[in-house]
Amino acid sequence: MKNRLTALAPLLLIPALGLTACAGGGSTGAADAAETKTLTVYTSEPQAKIDQIVEAFEKTNAGVNVEVFRAATGELKTRIATEKQSGKISADVILAADVPTFETYAAEGTLAKLEIGNAAELDKKFVDQEGFWVGTRIIPTIIAYNTGALTAGPASWAALTEETYKGKIAMPNPDVSGAAAFNTAVWFQEAALGQEWLEKLVANEPTVLESNGPVGQAVAEGSAEVGIVVDYVARELAAKGSPIAVGYPSDGVPYVSQPAGVFADSVNQDIANDFVDFLVSKEGQELAVAQSYLPVREDAGVPEGAPALSEINLLDPDLEKIAAGQSEAVGFFNSLLK
């Protein structure tokens, strides 16, 4: 009998070994929890950028360990929906997407109210009146073009539907990119553009890449001559030396403000609130500027190569209408693609 047990020992070891192997991969152990608090952030920020933000935040908040889960906005929304169904959202902070999504979450009771110490320094339109979210950076969607292929890009959305750009346009997928979904709704509802413009755009056979990153990439390497893309992606590539230039469409620039909020389920409400507040603090905004973003407060400066906010014709549609019409707009756009 004893021999048999010895012989079986390796099999019994399987789960045990698995446990050891995984111990480091999972959540932090109980011993650590006493000393450091872990803050989990869901974000669609590029990995390198969020890494810098976290580093800066951790420096001023000793004892806080920020864990980042980065994914495209669409994925984050799915994850949050799934987690809500199975009980509890496992993150504390969300930094992603667009205001309509946050409005929906706020309405569903998913978000906690914020106390933003820096609120006074910010433009009102970037702060939720009910206090559920705060915009953290202005991300306009613009038209970028490859300077090797073109001397000047299309000056407006209307110009983009011209025959010359047929098959040469790249744009992000509104199913995946939060900004793209938002933009689609804005275009759809903007009187000057609307359904007709969307139809013409799709008739120009754009390449629909997954998200903004690949669009900037495609324009920079020249596989697309023109791209509909968020401006910082294009400006960053230009700064690194890529042959890409930025044009802010004259007929209006839609933008998202990359809102941040705290989940109601969070057990670290205070720290989560601090993290969000940090994002809109002077330091946080200067970091945003250094990361090529347009800031939400005026004392943080402007990134290199970017125009001042006043020079841009920002579109400020009714966000509630956008929220209500977003899925219809995306659905319409998708139906055109088929």
């Binding site: 070994l17 698995g18 192997a21 995984c22 496992s90």
Partner: protein, 580 residues
């Protein structure tokens, strides 16, 4: 009715254990989940039954549970509604077409390479044999990235063509690109399968044809190829199933042209918020893929095996004569285009500071590589992947060894089912496995932890060890074990002392292959990833998706190189052992 009979047999079993004076019987006549296994365990009374029961319990948990959850979820009426969606039908069609087309191409290429590289006297075939396997050693999604870099509208190929005045506008995107790339990444597997089958053909069958008056090409046509047919079929089925499951290539190459396959459709359902609860729909598609895979696997098991007992005579040498040099040149072009240039394109992207910057010596920089390799995101990805892959390798080695031992040594009527249970997951799209684990994770309380990924990895890769151990084990004469039995060992003892020891090196090799495969895994991880468990594949995919192609390429290049070196070294070691 069934429950009743199970309960009865369970009681009888317990009673007999008691009478036997063996382990303490459970006090109450509860229904036992696998009463049949228990009954057999008692009948054998030799420990082998215990091993078998143990392996079955682990497999039932790792394989049965996720698939059961998937099936239950997938047959709900609301889930089936997904089949009414024309997008699903189109994706299914695309999946079948791309998988069949690419498997056909891969089999043809594999057969050609096997014959030329195994049999002919083409110069430099030693190096070529290794080089043609390169696409196998590079994860498909990284291969896709490499080809995107190579065939971008402004990439090196199109640029060169333009310089020559040809405005070809070659593009890798779209259905044809998917088929081509799937073929590129699966032909090495076809080659390996066919080459193995070719080596199993007894050389004297070909010699008999020679002496009967047939020249080499005639021998190839009338003897070698007909005998190779089962090997060709096996290669076709294997590549078909593998290509049906691939995610990286259709995602990166197909989606931009809106060429959707079932795998990318599932991903889209899961990753985009258009569907409020995507799990039922995804389960239904997963169930469809599961059924497809089961049919394919069962069909393949029905195929006549190509395992003739080979004689010592080596196969006929194919004298190429004057064709020697042209064939060699052709193969080197092949290797260059298919295997080397994409890697260079990847390196090019990794070494340039930003896209669109001309490739000159001054512009090259290691900035991308150092930046990504040292970034916290990548470090976490590498750490997690090593941990998860290591754990998976360990579990797979032990479990796979157990399964292979039972399959090759015990003659038991549950062996057929055991075989299917252990090797079926390999034929399943990673997405199916991932969805299965996504479904059971909340119930098991392991949602959003590394355990889900570990479980899915073990399920997906245990077959690698089973296969690696099985062939050498089958060739170990059972008389070795019988000798141990006559020396006084129980069947289990004999199995562990003799056969398991002999199989251990092969199991280790299998484990290393699991490690190297899991560490670069993308399809499963991307769906199961949670805060703190981001894997290396996901890190690369994230970098790529957020537009940091330089960083993504840098990391991908490192992964590709480590994979190539690691797998080559493992193969070399394994071969050396075989030669001995």
């Amino acid at each position: 009715m069934t429950t009743h009979s199970i309960a009865v047999s369970g009681t009888a079993t317990d009673a007999r254990i008691d009478a036997d004076g063996g382990s303490a019987p459970p006090p109450s006549p509860q229904p036992v989940p696998d009463a049949g296994a228990q009954r057999r365990r008692v009948r054998e009374r030799d420990g082998l039954g215990a091993l078998r029961a143990g392996v079955w319990v682990v497999l039932a948990f790792l394989v049965g549970l996720p698939l059961l959850a998937l099936a239950l979820q997938g047959i709900q009426p609301e889930a089936r509604a997904v089949f009414g969606d024309p997008a699903v039908a189109e994706a299914a069609l695309n999946s079948m077409a791309s998988a069949t087309g690419s498997a056909l191409l891969a089999t043809l290429a594999g057969a050609f390479l096997a014959v030329v590289l195994e049999r002919s006297n083409v110069p430099s075939r030693g190096v070529l044999r290794w080089l043609v396997l390169l696409p196998f050693l590079i994860p498909p999604f990284i291969g896709a990235m490499a080809w995107m870099a190579l065939l971008g509208a402004n990439g090196p190929v199109n640029k060169t063509l333009q310089d020559w005045g040809i405005d070809a506008k070659l593009s890798i995107f779209g259905g044809w690109g998917v088929v081509f790339l799937l073929a590129v990444h699966s032909y090495p597997m076809a080659y390996l399968v066919i080459a193995a089958a070719l080596r199993r053909i007894p050389g004297n069958l070909e010699e008999a044809a020679r002496i009967s008056g047939a020249g080499t090409t005639k021998v190839l046509r009338t003897v070698t190829l007909p005998l190779l047919r089962p090997g060709l079929l096996a290669a076709f089925v294997l590549t078909l199933v593998a290509n049906l499951s691939d995610f990286g290539i259709p995602a990166l190459i197909g989606l931009p042209e809106r060429y959707t396959t079932l795998t990318t459709l599932v991903y889209r359902y899961l990753a985009s918020s258009t569907t409020s609860n995507p799990l039922p729909a995804v389960s239904a598609i997963g169930l469809l893929l599961l059924v497809l895979a089961v049919i394919t696997v069962l069909a393949q098991r029905k195929l006549p095996g190509g395992n003739q007992v080979g004689s010592a005579a080596t196969g006929m040498k194919l004298e190429l004569g004057k064709a020697q040099i042209p064939v060699a040149i052709m193969l080197w072009i092949w290797v260059g285009i298919i295997c080397l240039i994409p890697l260079l394109a990847l390196a090019n992207q990794a070494l340039l500071p930003a896209p669109g910057i001309p490739l000159t010596w001054e512009n090259l920089t290691f900035e991308n590589i150092t930046r990504t390799a040292t970034s916290p995101g990548a470090a976490a990805g590498i750490g997690n992947s090593l941990m998860l892959a290591g754990g998976a390798a360990l579990c797979c080695t032990v479990l796979g060894l157990g399964v292979a031992l039972l399959l090759t040594r015990g003659k038991h009527r549950s062996n057929g089912a055991l075989d299917v249970a252990a090797t079926l997951p390999q034929a399943l799209p990673g997405l199916v496995i991932a969805v299965g684990w996504l479904l059971i994770a909340p119930t098991l309380g392991i949602f959003n932890t590394g355990w889900v990924i570990l479980g899915a990895y073990v399920m997906a890769f245990v077959a690698l060890v089973v296969q690696s151990v099985r062939a050498p084990l089958a060739s170990v004469s059972s008389s070795l074990e019988e000798a141990a039995r006559t020396a006084g060992a129980t069947p289990l003892r004999a199995l562990l002392d003799v056969t398991a020891r002999l199989a251990a090196p092969a199991a280790l090799t299998g484990g290393v292959v699991v490690l190297l495969t899991a560490v670069r895994e993308l399809t499963i991880s991307i769906l199961l990833v949670a805060p703190g468990t981001q894997t290396l594949g996901v890190s690369i995919f994230n970098l790529q998706q957020s537009g940091d192609y330089g960083g993504a390429s840098a990391l991908a290049l490192l992964v590709a190189l480590v994979g190539i070196i690691g797998l080559s070294a493992t193969a070399a070691l394994a071969n050396r052992r075989v030669d001995k």
